[in-house]
Amino acid sequence: MSVAASQSRTEIIQARGLRKEFTVRVKAGRLRRHKQIRAAVDGLDLRVERGETVGYIGPNGAGKSTTLKMLTGVLTPSAGEVRVCGLRPVAQRTRLALRIGVVFGQRSQLWWDLPLRDSFDLLRHVYRVPAAEHAARLRHCRALLDLDDFLDVPVRQLSLGQRMRGELTAALLHGPEVLFLDEPTIGLDVVSRQAVRGFLDELGRTGDTTLMLTTHDLADIERLCPRLVVIDHGRVVHDGSIADLHERYGSRRLVVAELDAPLPHPPTLPGALLREVAADGRRLVYALESAGVAQVVSGLAGLASLRDLSVVEPDIEEVVTRLYRTPPETTAPAVAGTG
């Protein structure tokens, strides 16, 4: 069954067996060079429903940007089928461009010499958006992204944070159905990063726009993406929620208890695993398995007097680091294609 035939009404992105190969010439002597074919994306399967927000992560060179470029019609896949908004991205690129928005953190799509205001006005004509619709969307973005201070400054004079807010607005003025974001928070300071995240969060919540975002900043993912797709060596190695990822890698919430006086034997609590004893037995760290925080706390309180207590959420960075370090042979077949 072809991708087009199987695409349901609510599915906005569908890729099956997507592959992109590049030819690399490797030096093999003084004059000789070997041609090597390397797959940047290797049999990728992906389905995204309308209105979803998907985080698409992976180490450098995993094939994230290549995937995005195939989904937007910029790169021609070497094999596989792909549909975005029901269109074939490469063959129908210009039509697809009217229905998607793309933001690259490392490239500008605005006109270097023009002020933002002129760029936005030009985009209205390029995308043929009715004036009233355009004005309403621009008003919305101006309010949420604080654009007013630098609307009349040429793009080349904007700071990175200001430019990125401009890029986001530019990508949304034609009301795209899907917004692709390639590392939108890269290089931004904390304030700008928060502004961009807050804006995307709101955009994702409305459910009108499907967001697909690649990033190396896992805080972006935690804040924005209920669904996480991890890619490595061109293949999907995880597709699910962040909680699924923690589950799969055994990362647990931790309860850290500081006691007034050490206990002779650190107690065993049902549903929790004692992970660490420190500070001469005065600090106990339990990893929660089936037990809840309350059970562990009440269990401990019955045995010793507590001075302090804290709950540590599992660290996504640690999980992802472990995931990236796992050899592809062992991770790839496990969940590839579960999307």
Partner: protein
């Protein structure tokens, strides 16, 4: 955010109007973009004018006591030089590597993600640039020249519309040539080689360094037909100074239009081939 429902765009009158509106908007932005560099424009005007004096005196020396050379009288030669100095930047033979730079850095991705064909978008921008150059770069040398030299004024009415048409065709043709030179970056990554060849070829063969009529007829006539170069500068200038009868001039402009159409089609073809093998640099 609401959504845009894109439908198949049939070829109707209203679509053509919309296409022209988009083209016009991009051209207007091209005009604005280039108008931001005022100091560069001023420096260019001064340089053009200085070179105008140099070239003019050389050609007048060639005309010598006889008062004519290669079928041009002194006034025609003067006009040829001074209008040529102005047209040089309108047609813009040299100094455009924007597309090649964007290909090299990978920024060309942004161009491919717009709903307008890249050739159309770049042509529209270039039209705006040419419009700006026509006002700011063509007029000054044309206004300075009469203070020092006697210029040739067209005597036949079809000359003026023919000249305007010829300049427009030359702008489009020059754009197409530059676009093709720039697209070699898709294959070569570094366009300096093709660019040097283009700079050399277009300078000598377009009639910029000397009017091509100074060459023997068996050289310049085939050159005119089988290469686009004379159509870039020599044709509009010959039309303006009425070097030939009107009928010949119409033929020359027709040749120009054919070259412009042919090379624009080539641009689209090359663009399509390039996109198929595109490797976006730098992630």
């Amino acid at each position: 955010m609401g959504s845009v429902n894109a439908t198949v765009a049939p070829f109707t009158t209203s679509n053509v109007i919309l296409w022209f509106r988009t083209f016009w908007a991009i051209a207007a932005s091209g005009f604005r973009r280039y108008s931001t560099y005022r100091q560069a424009a001023l420096a260019g005007i001064v340089t053009n004018t200085v070179f105008g004096f140099l070239r003019c005196y050389v050609l007048l020396a060639v005309a010598g006591a006889a008062g004519s050379a290669a079928g041009y009288d002194r006034r025609q030669l003067t006009t040829f030089v001074w209008v040529g100095q102005g047209l040089l930047t309108v047609v813009q033979l040299w100094g455009w590597t924007e597309l090649a730079d964007r290909i090299r850095t990978g920024d060309v991705v942004g161009d491919l993600l717009r709903p307008v064909h890249p050739v159309t978008a770049y042509l529209a921008t270039d039209t705006g640039r040419a419009g700006y150059a026509a006002v700011v770069r063509l007029l000054p040398p044309v206004l300075v020249a009469p203070l020092f030299f006697e210029l040739y004024l067209p005597a036949r009415w079809p000359t003026v519309p023919l000249f305007v048409g010829s300049v427009v065709a030359a702008v489009v043709l020059s754009f197409a040539c530059r676009y093709l030179v720039n697209t070699t970056a898709y294959w070569l990554a570094d366009v300096r080689g093709p660019l040097v060849l283009w700079t050399l070829g277009s300078g000598v063969l377009s009639g910029l360094y000397f009017p091509l009529r100074f060459l023997p007829e068996w050289v310049y006539q085939p050159l005119w037909i089988v290469t686009p170069f004379p159509s870039l500068l020599q044709t509009p200038l010959d039309v303006l100074v009425e070097r030939d009868p009107t009928r010949v001039q119409v033929t020359l402009v027709a040749v120009q239009i054919c070259w412009a159409a042919l090379l624009l089609a080539a641009c689209r073809l090359v663009q399509r081939r390039a996109e198929r093998r595109l490797v976006v640099q730098g992630g």
